[in-house]
Amino acid sequence: MSLLNLAQDFLAVAQPATEPATAAPDVVTTGEAVAFWILGPLSLAGALGMLFARNAVHSALWLVLTMLSLGVLYMVQQAPFLGFVQIIVYTGAIMMLFLFVLMLVGRDSSDSIVEVLRGQRLAAAVLGVGFAGLVVGSLAQAFTRVDSVGLAAVNSSGGGNVANIGEALFTKYLFVFELTSALLITAAVGAMVLAYSDRHGKGEKKTQRELVEERFKGDRPGSLPGPGVFATANSVATPALLPDGSVAEESLSALIETTTKERLADDVADVAGTAHQADAHALTGSAPSKEGDK
């Protein structure tokens, strides 16, 4: 088969509902096989990568690869709606929430490789291999015997893929559908109840408005005067001066007022200019002699 034919075949598979007559749904066409042999290994690689990646975000990204491959596989298998919903819901929303949480945890948190339970690895390996054997065996049995029934009819009659899904969901499976949504709503409400905190409880943060109103109800609506910084000095200990030159009592910092004079001695000397002055010439050691020369 030439490459061009193959590509056309592939496109025919990619647009299933538009052309139900050309490709019978139960026959695996070349395009479908090619798509499978590309996507199958990719999704497997994603799954293995998710298991073996050390970094949690890398794990999540590998899982995204698997989900995308599965989504495309659904499309190839003539279920375009399922494929895109898989991408939108799982890849777009759920994995995004995973990533959101992982980022909040921090980027350098890798898995701990310290063994906590003794013999855990051996038990896990035995059980895992056993389980895999069971699954593969039963699936192989199922796949070799089951043919799709009525796929062509569903995709071509009564408005096609999407309309039929909608009809099945809202007639035959309505009760199950509503039950699922009730479950999800219960979960959401439960999470909200658990996370809810009363803002007006004890020790909670006040809003900007509450703070402002409190201030206005008090004896001083305005803000306190700032210290006289930069007027004559650059120390916060400098008091603000009222227009008549007297010291504004409110501008005095309680913290500084209660500090002993000895502890502030350095700052006082600094403001007064009597402290030790940095001198660049002291670094070379030759500056004083130069001055002396002159």
């Binding site: 061009l4 590509a7 056309q8 496109l11 025919a12 990619a14 647009q15 509902a17 538009t18 052309e19 970094n55 975000v57 890398h58 990204l61 995204v64 995308l68 375009p80 709606f81 895109f84 919903v85 991408i87 939108i88 890849t91 777009g92 929303a93 995004m96 929430l97 990533l99 959101f100 980022m103 909040l104 980027r107 408005g159 096609g160 893929n161 999407v162 309309a163 408005r209 402002v212 109103e213 206005f216 109800k217 609506p221 305005g222 004559t232 000095a233 001066l241 009222l242 227009p243 008549d244 030159g245 007064a272 200019g273 009597t274 002055q277 130069k290 001055e291 002159k294």
Partner: protein
């Protein structure tokens, strides 16, 4: 003959031409948009804007793009090597893919081959755009995480929350359109609007879509993930050279795509603004489509030139508490109307009469509602228009005392003099 059937027998070379054409269209639109945006915003701010490179400055963005490509590509030490490289690619590819389902024009003849100016027509076409936008966010989120510095991470977190919230509103706004067109295929949606555009029929949906499309593309006033005044550059702070150019490209291509989708969903796609038979044939569709898309792109620029950036909590409140509830109520209303219509119990005039009566009764009932009791708080504080308290009217301001001569701080003069002499001597040496 439906669009899907028309597209099904396209030979491979026509598909290739369309792919290249769409790519070229999007890239040229990006170059054009950057220039146009700078010029329009400049005009709004009463300055000329770029006017040096090329005729009237229209090649400025091309020159900037070339310069960007030759800049040094810097990767921070703390960056995650592969993810840092992958992020701009992930953000760029879906932006282009999404455009493949947009019907640019109806049936045309391309080199003697009858086809439709649309790459592919899927029965779930609208979902393709939503899926692509949800993949595109990965680019932004991963770039923020992989940069290994706090500002990009904050931008990425904002972006993730923003897109999840606004995608819900966007999806809900599309539901109304799908109900009326009976299809999710983009070309069917355009066909369904041949009598009346959905912007008239579903105006609330249109308004919600336009708001959420601005939120979805991270454009002003919703550009919180890259808020310059708070986060330096947001998610792309650490990016440079071609990687940064890819983010730039993805943002503008996304703008074009959501504008094209808005055109398709609400403004009748490639159909002529008035029902002309001749104007609706062949390549004329391209003209109408581009004109309508440019209208939305101008809206983006206009918003950017007009509105200040929203605060984050206001933005989230708008999404969850305004857009989503309104969408839900509107969908229920639309479903009700359609159900009544389909049951065939009412003619259009009967329906409008009932609607008017119900509306009138609702208005009368709302008049009967008692006014909300204003709580009399004895300690209440007078409040300004902005809602914040004002000082009491009888506030007593103390009288200013007479000024004395300023007090001069009695500081020791000696050290100052010493410094001065030192400096003088330095000058001599």
């Amino acid at each position: 003959m439906t669009t899907a059937e028309l597209l099904a027998d396209d030979p491979i070379w026509i598909i290739l031409i369309k792919v290249v054409g769409i790519f070229a269209f999007l890239v040229v639109m990006t170059l054009f948009m950057i220039n146009w945006e700078r010029k329009v915003v400049a005009r709004m701010q009463q300055r000329p804007g770029p006017n040096r490179v090329g005729p009237n400055g229209w090649l400025q963005s091309l020159a900037d793009g070339l310069k960007l490509a030759f800049k040094e590509d810097i990767r921070p030490v703390l960056a995650d090597k592969w993810v840092f490289f992958l992020a701009p690619v992930i953000s760029c590819i879906p932006a282009f893919v999404a455009f493949s389902v947009i019907p640019i024009a109806g049936e045309v003849s391309l080199f003697g081959e009858k086809t439709s100016l649309q790459l592919v027509d899927l029965p779930v076409g609208v979902l393709v755009v939503l899926a692509c936008s949800s993949i595109g966010v990965y680019g932004i989120v991963l770039s923020g995480w992989a940069s290994g510095s706090p500002y990009p991470l904050l931008g990425a977190l904002r972006s993730a929350a923003q897109v999840i919230s606004y995608e819900i509103a966007m999806g809900l706004s599309i539901v109304g359109v799908v109900m009326f067109s009976h299809s999710m295929s983009t070309s069917d949606i355009v066909q369904a609007q041949s009598n009346l555009w959905f912007v008239v029929l579903l105006f609330p949906s249109f308004a919600i879509y336009v708001i959420s499309m601005v939120g979805e593309t991270n454009r002003a006033p919703f550009d919180l993930p890259e808020a310059e005044s708070e986060l330096v550059g947001g998610f792309h702070t650490e990016y440079s050279s071609l990687k940064f150019a890819l983010f730039f490209l993805a943002e503008y291509v996304n703008m074009v795509t959501v504008s094209a989708l808005a055109t398709t969903l609400f403004l009748g796609g490639y159909q002529a603004p008035w029902g002309g038979e001749f104007m609706n044939t062949g390549w004329w569709g391209l003209l109408w489509f581009v004109a309508k898309t440019l209208f939305f792109l101008f809206l983006f620029i206009w918003l950017r030139g007009t509105l200040p950036r929203m605060r984050y909590d206001q933005f989230m409140r708008l999404g969850w508490k305004v857009l989503v509830p309104i969408s839900l109520v509107w969908i229920v209303a639309v479903a009700l109307v359609r159900a009544l219509n389909n049951s065939g119990g009412f003619s259009q005039s009967q329906f409008l009469t009932i609607f008017g009566v119900v509306l009138g009764v609702l208005v009368l009932l709302s008049l009967l509602l008692p006014d909300r009791k204003v709580e009399e708080d004895p300690n209440a504080v007078p409040i300004t228009g902005g809602g914040y308290p004002v000082p009491p009217l009888d506030l007593e301001v103390p009288k200013a005392p007479t000024r004395r001569t300023p007090v001069v701080a009695r500081l020791p003069k000696e050290p100052v003099a010493v410094t001065a002499s030192k400096e003088a001597s330095d000058g001599d040496v």
